[in-house]
Symmetry: C2
Subunit: 398 residues, 2 copies
Amino acid sequence: MSSMLVATPILLVVLRSFSLRRPTRLGPSAFAEGFVNTIKDVAHHAGVSVSTVSNVLNGRTGRMRKETLARVEKAIGQLKFRPNAVARRLKTGQAPLLGLLVPSLANPMYGAIAREIETFAQEQYGHRVLIGSTYRDKEKEATFFEDLLAHGVSRVIVISSLADERHFETVVGRGMTVVSYDRGAAKGRTSKVVHVTPDNFEAARLATEHLIAHGHKRLAFATVAGMTMSRSAKIQGFQAAASRNGLQKTAVILNGGLLDEYGDSIMSEVGRALALRLSAEPARPTGIVAVNDLMALGLMAGLREAGLRVPQDVSIVGIDGLFLAALSNPGLSTVQLPVADMARAMVECAIEPKLEDQARSRARVFVPTLLVERESVARPPAPAAKKTTRVGARKARA
Amino acid sequence: MSSMLVATPILLVVLRSFSLRRPTRLGPSAFAEGFVNTIKDVAHHAGVSVSTVSNVLNGRTGRMRKETLARVEKAIGQLKFRPNAVARRLKTGQAPLLGLLVPSLANPMYGAIAREIETFAQEQYGHRVLIGSTYRDKEKEATFFEDLLAHGVSRVIVISSLADERHFETVVGRGMTVVSYDRGAAKGRTSKVVHVTPDNFEAARLATEHLIAHGHKRLAFATVAGMTMSRSAKIQGFQAAASRNGLQKTAVILNGGLLDEYGDSIMSEVGRALALRLSAEPARPTGIVAVNDLMALGLMAGLREAGLRVPQDVSIVGIDGLFLAALSNPGLSTVQLPVADMARAMVECAIEPKLEDQARSRARVFVPTLLVERESVARPPAPAAKKTTRVGARKARA
DNA sequence: TTGAAAGCGCTAACAT
DNA sequence: ATGTTAGCGCTTTCAA
């Protein structure tokens, strides 16, 4: 049967199919205007069966006549046919979608990670990203997982600072592949959750050693209230460096306020408040490692407000390596985390889970090798400086 | 028929249904482990038909016997049943999903907007957000739209700086509701795209007047290469303020480099480069309005690098009102844009499109009323300062 | 007040 | 090498 001979009848069929089918669309359909062709339309148009079209769509063209393939492809092109991902998903249970849970998109660090994840997922795997902010709320996280499941999304990357991750395990049991950022696996328990994390211990150690190398004796680690695995690893790294240099006696942990539900720009507010409190202390630390760059930036702002100069009066090192660190005044020295590498690893683990990832009880750890030196670290003020350091409301830039 | 009497047989049916159905799931299914109950399971379990369950699910319980309703609800609870959103979507064409297109998630301004959009869409409408970065690439935008269509997502918020928005119109024709941020409607043409935008003209005017009020005579507007509607509106606002004060002769537009595909942190790099170039000019402007806060921050960093002080040597005003502006040193004076209000408006227009929005040929414009004064603006240096201003590599904070 | 049944668009056995 | 067909889980007429 030549396609030439049946061209006209086929066209009629297609048209009738339109008028019969479209009106049955319900309510304010997504496709109320503009027709969306289906695999059936393509089949009619090409004079083949739907399975042949489906085969073309899915690359099963091995034992297909060239001519058939060509006809189908031509029909697809002419009708501008795009397969309906929803129908496909209903059938296969597979969605080219990746869930991404972050505490807050407004936090530049999460924004940076999210960008890498989204780009990589898209370019390497053709996956789109379904994103959600949780504001560090367990309830919201659970709801997000529920929704993902309902939408047939079976892979998710979670950036959560919640200490408890049992709700992760629950969804893993329901068929989800969960990749968790910035936390080691819970000790002892084997988890089906894959963990990807920077080496927080090492990052903090590096930052602390940098301060020590500049002669600082009175060290502090500035963090927010609430302990997470990553924060505690950083604290350990800080303490390890202090101890190794006999400075453990004067090394203190500064606990700022709790992150509220807004959970992002608030981080710097906590830093600022901490700095204000700190400036009143007579024997305050001369070198501070901040739990992250945002905290460091807040610290610097607060110190400045209190009339203290960075780095002359106090030195600051951040952790993250945000591009903002290069913009601050003075430039913030910070431990650069390998954001792009980690993002890639997370996407890979989420989309092509390897047995070794599941099997390894430890997290996949990325060592931060780079301490970016800028201007926020200098030698500590001479001992006598303790008296002259505070200059009331004098502006730092004066 | 009492549910007590048939309890056992029903249970059997359910179990058999499992063993028959589950094995047919294909490949590495999303639900390979952990059972996901269907409406059918609920119906069996409650001893009713699927349509009754569906009615409960959709709140059509008006003429339903209380007892039936209770049985169904109980079954739903016991089986922890969650309706499959994919199947529902295939049937109804409606997805509780919102597309969100941004140039780059790593840009804090877009992060801030994205957060508001996501939160509002979720809390008010139960919509999840499918996000995509486009890096200001038209091809990528078009692909994103295609994918949204394929996924049955029919509403999208677009934050694009692309001058040409004809590809928006195309998808509108295919049934999409598109809301566009930060651009007026194209002149003359009626568009089915809804526009929401800050009053960019007013924002720049406000910033410029602020500089003028401080006595600045040599004004500049710093922007990146490539004209967009929002940038040109800002330039007009800048020029209007300059003209009104007889300063048009000395008011210049500073065009920085082109934003490359990375398109975000690069903004501040452009600012920095611009500042370096500027510092070499003998008759350089004393007051600069930056196209946005990131540019302003970059400008400040570059000026500092060149040994110029802000605000003593040159004053800077930003536009956006990022929380980062409060953190910079000196604090950046900036025009605060009503991010949350605009985000709400965009979500509303996308999810509950009102005729008036579609009808209005103009954009829904949000007036920025707030200029946040910080420390980046001061009186211009005395005329003689022109000579003494440049001090080589002297650090700003010295 | 409830149930039966027809599909939404697609995939993949299973025929032929 | 290609076609037929049974569903994926749900909504919604229409019938009872």
